[in-house]
Structures are given as C-alpha cells and as structure tokens.
C-alpha cells in the first residue's frame, strides 16, 4: 500500500523525495499514529513548546510576569479572569506558568544541546577506537558519572551566585556522561557489524566510519533516550529552583513558583498546585512521547 495509489502526478515530487523513501516515511507515520499515548505525548510537547515560544502573545497578562505587584488582586482563587488564580503579589499564575515553560524548555535545550553532541561524539570515538582511547575517555566519563547531577549542581550553584544560567551549566556539565556511555556501547557493537568492516575494507576514512556508518545507526536509541531524558532535565531544574538554587524570584521558574506557594498551603492551594501540575504535564508529555518513539524504533534504553 503506498500513497501513490491516489494517482496524483507525483513526478515533480519524485525528483525531490523518491517514492521509496516517501513510502517509508508514510509507514513510519502510520505506526506512530497507531499509538494513542505517543500521539498525546507529541501533542502535549508541541503545544507547550509553541505556547512557550509565543508566550508574550498568548499569556493573558504578559506584563505580570516579573516584579509586578497588584496587592488588591492578591490570593485571587481560580476564576474566568485568572484561570489559575493569582499569587501573593497579585500576579496571574497562568501567565507565569506559560513563561515558566519557557525557562524549563530553555533548560532542556541547553542541557541536551550541549550534552548530547559532546557525549555522543566522545562515546562514538571511544567505542570505535577501542584500546587506550576508549579507556581514557570512559574512565573520565565514569568519574563524572560518580557525581549525582543534583549534588554537583548544588555545589556549583552554592559556590557561585545561584542563578538559572549557573544551574544550566552545572546540569549540562554532567549530563553528557550518559550519552557517552550509550553511544560508546552502540559504537562498540556496531563496529563488529559486517557493513562497518566492509566499509573499512573498502578504504573508508575514520571520519566516514564515524559519521556515515556509526552515527546514523545509533540515532534512534539516542533520540529515544534524549526524549525520555528531557522530562528528567525539567524535573532536575525544577528541583534546583524549588530549593532556591535555580531560577531566582521574580523570574517565573516552575519550581520557584511551587516553593513560593507552599507557605500558603492549604488555603491558597492554587499558588503551588498549578505550577506543580504544569511540571507534571510537561514531564508526562516527554515520557509518553519517548515511550512511543521507543516502541516505534523498537530499541531498548536503560533508564
């Protein structure tokens, strides 16, 4: 069954993307779309990302994000005007949650954007080269792996002034290790595949082996791992903010908002609960999407 059965004139399209490849995409799409959980996950992640990117245009009261005070409207329970209520300074919580997503996703982008390429390259080189190169890279990785991200982030954040940026780099400086380990294992086992040996015996350079043989063949487990990881990065960032070492008030960190609201529990529950629920939804979205991708690619990722 192919999409060509609809008998459109596809000759122009064929020149750009071959029918064989279009069919492959179509089949992958069908398989993905048949899993309701992963589709829901994708919808959550895409919606939240769009909301975060266009926050200034979407949020109902964009001027109330930062150091805005309107004590007349403080502790306002959820209503039509303020669906998530208002906090102790009278700021709209929905607005702050949307901007909070911005910070959370920025954290994900920075941590994974730095960690994945660095870790993957180190891992591929270690796994393919083997020998002492492998030993050196992997022992360094093990050293970093021995430090729990949250604890190191704590140490770095308390040594410097605790800000979002410091927290980001503290987390990123440890996050690459998992990708180095995963990529190293994949590269080591792929190196024994006949097509990699065949490429070597065809005289391919190391660059070719790394970028054209090994990397493309470990992309799917890496993508699955990165998606599942995104949720954990969000949680780690929120945890740091919650204990005051991440996003600093008045910036709208989701963890910061949860922490701020705890002192008003249980009476003004909405101040804490809605940002907490926002974290939950985003992490769930990433996990459902990751699980769906894992089933789609049929890979096993250690968690």
């Amino acid at each position: 069954m192919s999409i060509d059965t609809l008998s459109f004139d596809t000759s122009g399209l064929d020149r750009i993307v071959s029918p064989a490849r279009r069919e492959l995409w179509y089949r992958s799409y069908r398989r993905f779309a048949n899993q309701p959980m992963s589709v829901i996950g994708l919808v959550i992640v895409v919606t939240i990302t769009l909301a975060a990117v266009f926050a200034p245009y979407i949020a109902p009261y964009p001027e109330q994000v930062g150091s805005f005070t309107d004590f007349a409207n403080a502790y306002h329970p959820p209503s039509l005007d303020h669906p998530f209520g208002t906090d102790s300074a009278g700021r709209d919580i929905l607005t702050r949650v949307i901007f909070g997503y911005r910070i959370a996703l920025l954290l994900v982008a920075v941590v994974l954007g730095l960690g994945v390429p660095v870790g993957v390259m180190l891992g591929l080189v270690a796994g393919y080269a083997g020998g002492w190169v492998d030993t050196i890279i992997m022992r360094i990785t093990d050293t970093f792996l021995a430090l729990p991200p949250l604890v190191l982030a704590l140490a770095i954040a308390s040594a410097f002034e605790p800000t979002l940026e410091i927290a980001m780099f503290a987390i990123a400086s440890l996050w690459w290790t998992w990708y180095a380990r995963l990529a190293r294992g994949l590269a080591a086992s792929l190196s024994d595949e006949e097509y990699v040996q065949a490429a070597e015996l065809a005289g391919a350079s190391r660059t070719h082996i790394l970028f054209r043989e090994l990397l493309p063949n470990c992309l799917s487990p890496l993508l699955v791992k990165a998606t599942l990881d995104a949720g954990i990065v969000v949680l780690t960032g929120a945890s740091l903010s919650f204990i005051g070492l991440g996003v600093q008030p008045p910036r709208p960190g989701l963890g910061t908002m949860v922490a701020d609201g705890t002192q008003y529990l249980p009476a003004e529950w909405w101040i804490s609960i809605f940002p907490g629920f926002a974290i939950f939804v985003l992490v769930m979205g990433f996990n459902m999407l990751g699980d769906g991708l894992r089933d789609l690619f049929d890979v096993e990722v250690e968690q």
């Binding site: 490849r21 006949e194 065949a198 015996l201 065809a202 005289g203 391919a204």
Partner: protein, 368 residues
C-alpha cells in the same frame, strides 16, 4: 607460472585465540600465494580455518584476543607491518573484500545509491581529514561523477533496473540483488585483488548459480586476482585456477584445479572428492566420518589422522612435511614418502577404506 613476484604471498601464517578452554591454535603455518590475474580457492569443510585465514589477511582480527604470526605480503609490502593509514589507502583501492552474508554487509540506513557512491568517492582515500571529507562529500560534481560510475557498475553486474535500485534500501532488495550490489561495490575502485568469502552461498541454489556465472564473466573480462573461500568443491572447480585444500588450520594439499580433481594426492582431498554426490550413484553415502578437530587440543602429528583411513602410529608421532608433485602441486601426508611401508594413497583405495573406516573416538576428557 609467471616469473614476477606473486601479488599476494602469505608465509607461515598462524592465528590463535586465547579462550577459557585454553589456547586455540586455529591456523597453523599456512603458506599461500596468489599470482597476478590468478583465481585461487581455499576449500575445506566448516571450521577448517579458512575464514580466519582471510580475516588475518585482511587485518580484520583484533589483536588481542587473536595472536597472528607470519607475513602477509601484498605486491612487495608486508600488510601486517603497514601503518594503519597506508593500509586504508590499499583497502578498497587495490584490495576489495566481499563478505559472505549479503544483507549484513550493507548499511541498513542508507540507500544502495548513497553507500555505493560513498565507496566510489572515498574508497582507498582514507586520509582526507574531517574537513576534506565533508568538502568532497558535498561537492556536487565529485558526487555525480561517482554516481555515474556506480550506475555503470550496477549495469555491469546485471542488476535489474539499476536506477530504482539506487534509491532502494538494502531491506527492499532480494538476496540476489544485494549480492550483486556488494559485488559492484567491491569492483568500484578496480581492485587488483578481490577476496571473496563464500560469495552467494547464503542464497538459494538458482541465485547462487547466477552469481557464480556473473563472477565467471567478471573474471573473464577483468585482469583481477581473486582469493575465494568456499566449502563447495563445485564452486572451486568452476571458477578457480588453483585450489588449496585446508584441514584443521593447515593446508593439506594444493594443486591446479584440473590436477586436484583428476588426481588428488592427500587422503583428505580424496575423501572430499569421493564424497561429492554423483548422479550415477557411485558416491559413498557416509562421507568422511568424524568432524574437524578441537582447536584447543589438536591431534598430535597430522591433524587429520583421527579421521584418516591410512593412519598409523607414525601419523600420531610426526608432523607430515610437504611433498611436491610438480611445479604448483604439493601435499602434506606422510604416506607419500614411505611407499615401502604402506600405499601411496589412491582415490579408489581411499574410497574403499573410508567406507569401512571408523574414526578414532575423541580421547575421553579427564577431570579438569
């Protein structure tokens, strides 16, 4: 036989592996040569060490765990001494390898066109550096010239509909088509020496036959030396100029193809040839009793003696030396030289004896 030095000359090649059961002595003192333009076959039953021999020649064995000894000389250069970079220059450009399994030798995530074009562009060109690599990879003139050559080669290996095969993934092709693609890939950079490990034997008989006739035609058209591995004597007879018969990690016998099938000297070769099923029904049913030796504890003396119908005490106690039968033929059996004490093996006699012979049972394993 040409006067020039042979293209490939392997001398005293030994390969062993350190394992939990002790040291496995898998290839022991193998000598072999491939002349310019010659097609040579290494034949033997499964487990005789023929694949390990080729892996040692191509440098695919990791050391350790493997221990490799001896010299592998290609066109005057010792491959085992060459630095990695120079080795990569030879690979693909002058030496090509075809693996046994046509599916696993192709990268599953790229189309045939993409990966063959890569080979055409980068084969034997291992030292361009990262930037140089990507500059060439994305140079459209370089790329389309390479693509043209891939198309030509696919035509030459009689690939049906080469244009659409270029855009297909390996999983979308039949076994025969994949095997043709691999042969095309191996020939792209016009190697001097092609090493083929059981080409097409993973395919069904009719497709295997097509692949063999393709290879026959390619051999006729090209001035290329081939070192082929096979367990199929029919393949050896059909394609090669000279045959090495391997047993238990050693060369039992070598001779030009016609000679070895007409007048085999070694009892093992005779046993193999006698085991070929014939329509006339005169083949013996049982073949050669027993199986290839345990490499961690190989038989003393001649490694074939536990299965050999001529074996006596002298075969256990001394290693057989090569006996020459003409310029290119030699055979390693102690019976060749002691015509007085026993028969020089003949095919008829071997056949008769094999049908009655019981292989010596493996020595019972002691407490370890």
């Amino acid at each position: 036989m040409s006067d020039a030095a042979p293209l490939l000359s392997v001398r005293d090649l030994s390969v062993g592996f350190e394992g939990f059961d002790g040291y496995a002595d898998v290839v022991d003192g193998v000598d072999l040569t491939v002349e310019h333009g010659e097609v040579v076959t290494i034949a033997g039953e499964t487990g005789c060490g023929k694949s390990v021999t080729t892996k040692a020649i191509t440098g695919l064995l990791n050391e350790p765990p493997a221990h490799v000894d001896g010299t592998v000389e290609f066109d005057g250069q010792d491959l085992r001494e060459l630095p990695d970079d120079e080795r990569r220059e030879l690979n693909g450009d002058r030496i090509s390898v075809i693996f046994q399994n046509p599916l696993s030798s192709l990268n599953p995530v790229f189309t045939i066109g993409e990966q063959l074009t890569d080979t055409a562009q980068f084969g034997g060109d291992g030292n361009t550096g990262i930037l140089g690599y990507f500059r060439r990879r994305f140079s459209s003139t370089d790329r389309s010239a390479a693509r043209e050559r891939v198309l030509e080669l696919l035509e030459e290996v009689r690939m049906p509909d080469p244009e659409s095969v270029m855009d297909s993934y390996p999983s979308e092709l039949s076994g025969g088509m994949r095997q043709r693609a691999i042969i095309a890939q191996a020939l792209l950079n016009e190697p001097d020496l092609l090493i083929a490990d059981e080409p097409g034997s993973a395919l069904d008989v009719t497709v295997h036959d097509e692949i063999l006739s393709l290879l026959e035609d390619l051999i006729a058209e090209r001035d290329m030396s081939i070192l082929m591995i096979t367990h199929n004597l029919g393949v050896a007879r059909r394609l090669s100029d000279r045959v090495y018969i391997m047993y238990g990690g050693r060369i039992a016998e070598t001779a030009p193809t016609a000679e070895i099938f007409d007048a085999p000297h070694h009892p093992y070769t005779q046993g193999l040839i006698a085991s070929i099923p014939r329509l006339s029904g005169e083949s013996m049913a049982g073949g050669i009793g027993g199986s290839v030796p345990e490499y961690t504890d190989p038989p003393m003396g001649c490694r074939f003696h536990p299965r050999c119908p001529y074996a006596d005490e002298s075969c256990r106690s001394s290693e057989p030396a090569d006996v020459s039968f003409g310029e290119q033929a030699r055979s390693a059996c102690i019976r060749h030289s002691d015509g007085d004490s026993g028969p020089v093996p003949t095919l008829q006699e071997t056949k008769r004896r094999l049908s009655e012979h019981e292989p010596t049972p493996e020595p019972a394993e002691g407490n370890q």
